[in-house]
Symmetry: C2
Subunit: 435 residues, 2 copies
Amino acid sequence: MKPIKVGLLGLGVVGGGTWKVLARNAEEIARRAGRRIEVTRVAVRDVAKARMRVGNEVEVAADPHAIVRDPSIDIVVELIGGDTLARELVLEAIANGKHVVTANKALLAKHGNEIFAAASAQGVMVAFEAAVAGGIPIIKAIREGLTANRIEWVAGIINGTTNFILSEMRSRGLPFAQVLAEAQRLGYAEADPTFDIEGVDAAHKLTLLASLAFGVPVQFERAHVEGISNLAAEDIAHAARLGYRIKLLGITRRRADGIELRVHPALVPAERLLANVEGAMNAVLVRGDAVGPTLYYGQGAGEEPTASAVVADLVDVTRLHTADPGNRVPHLAFQPDAMSDTPILSIEDTETSYYLRMRVEDRPGVLADIARILSDASISIGSMIQEPSSDGSGADIIFLTHLARERNVNLAIASIEASPFVRSTVTRLRLENLT
Amino acid sequence: MKPIKVGLLGLGVVGGGTWKVLARNAEEIARRAGRRIEVTRVAVRDVAKARMRVGNEVEVAADPHAIVRDPSIDIVVELIGGDTLARELVLEAIANGKHVVTANKALLAKHGNEIFAAASAQGVMVAFEAAVAGGIPIIKAIREGLTANRIEWVAGIINGTTNFILSEMRSRGLPFAQVLAEAQRLGYAEADPTFDIEGVDAAHKLTLLASLAFGVPVQFERAHVEGISNLAAEDIAHAARLGYRIKLLGITRRRADGIELRVHPALVPAERLLANVEGAMNAVLVRGDAVGPTLYYGQGAGEEPTASAVVADLVDVTRLHTADPGNRVPHLAFQPDAMSDTPILSIEDTETSYYLRMRVEDRPGVLADIARILSDASISIGSMIQEPSSDGSGADIIFLTHLARERNVNLAIASIEASPFVRSTVTRLRLENLT
């Protein structure tokens, strides 16, 4: 069969990895796909540098627009990132009847609805396995592997930088700032780490996972996003003593009244596989009503792991590009006319367990008063530890609650913080049993 | 779009689960597939009992042949098990131009080459996600999710019964026979547990995984198969002290001179995720050259988890049944004309690390003699412990070796066992670092 022709936009980390994997494994890929996948055009900012890399058989140019308009190109691979030029190019490629493969989670989390609608109207595919959890085929698993299921929830470690930082904080007992600096030196964190450490990158990915799991439109703006920059080393240590590890989780859960969509650090029982995902690795736990819990683990970033997903998409698109568009796997797992308008819930409507830490005066009646406040807010206590505070000025109390509504927890915290016997703000972390 | 019509052969555990999941999630499945998937005919041995279950809208009969010949049926789901009648029915369905979905690993491990060739000739699909690791979409992951990769090895816990038994033996310090009896009472092990505990079931599944990973024909007869019935509780305890857990693994690895294909108990470092897969759960670790290690975890058996895979296959076949057969995903991941004749290696050519335990006389020179035997066989020692034997009659020595060739290990063991100072046979277990 004729080779499929690919135009590559961007030759950075992922673009370079894609080029490398396609070249090195050309034979193995063709054995599977039944034809060759050839990059025939590349658009990059630094043309001379790129030409050194890809040689003379490929056309290298600075103008990406020429590629998305080129009638000889079957598939456009967008790896330039950002959501302005990338959006423009992807939409133009679609308008020109080209299939698109992209690793751009920010683009799809913000403009996915527009892009997928345009693609469906044109009868082309937009494949994005590389946008979530790098090399792990999690989109394929949810979109095709679990089609029998009513999916109940998804919980994932979907940002390697923060998982690396949390793993180091725990195993070495170090504070956040010190580990972040080290991660930056090692290249695990960017010079401006905001997107990673504040949970934004994870929220982009979670937004896509929620749409795939529940068939709702992409709604990044409704996601609740908290990062790890305020996480104290002592909470990691307390959690460990209580049998938990703290992970930055992206969680989306179907409830009777809507869908939870939230990224934040959470305590996870130490015996769960997810709690044992260490370093820069990613893992996504998906619970379906028929299959039960399933977990997918691997490298969530990096040159070749991400390229692995890009190339898998290229093979998929190659296989399906002659198929009737109506029979292809829908972009967001559900047929466009079968999407659901189930609302995304406010974070205040979250129902989960909580870890609450506070410093109080060490005198009779204090515990009773706090217990009363919690009970008045319909919060029941699962376990508790109290110990003298390290500075000898009072007592530190930690509560682990049973399932509670976040709105009630917030009211209780306000009430506790307003009490005369409390000497600190209340540290509140969510606790996910993942069962 | 018109519903797709399914004929179901068998209404046992998996057949019943498939019926249940298709009924309960009909809406969710149709939202994804774009059309309904309807079971219109069922063949079972006990017609009256089945009719009670599926009602009057479905034709229930005792003769499965009528279904595989029925022109109104699009897809035949084979869930009767065994490899005589099942083979006959699957081949007849294919000859009649029907797509087939099956959970039958024994059938495919033994007759897969014949069945896939017949299907390719007829232009129909034989889908078998449910045949390996139940609800985990591992076949899809390897066959479609990792197409970019040259796969290096696959190592899996792919039999829930044995993993349950090993988990109980370790956590409760009990001997094999006692845990097996309990597993039988709980329904985790069959009355005749041979297929599970002797590794045959795992070897059926591993055989399929090897073909999918490396593009070699199905060669169950070349698999090396060892079960757990001879595993001593003391070796599990020794392994734990050394930082390892013992799991029944199916391992297939590409080497320069051929492919390893082996099922046996193995020591795995306790910190690996795979070592922490407990109870009846399954997990498969796949290493690709681009993606690195990826792991897939979930329930490997049971009514609804297995049905989850059967129904996912039904959705896939529904989507692809109008596609050009040449563009479909090949049955064994590689195009039929691109299969490899790389040989399956003999177990003697395995290269891995080893755990060797022996009881010896406690006198000077013994250790030196054993070390010399190992060294003469090109086996280098990674670590060693020696302690007085529990009966006070001598010393127990345990070696963990570096990578060694099994042939050399066997020679060394024979030589050690022939030595006058050795009071026991040598217990030999393989050790897999999985890196």
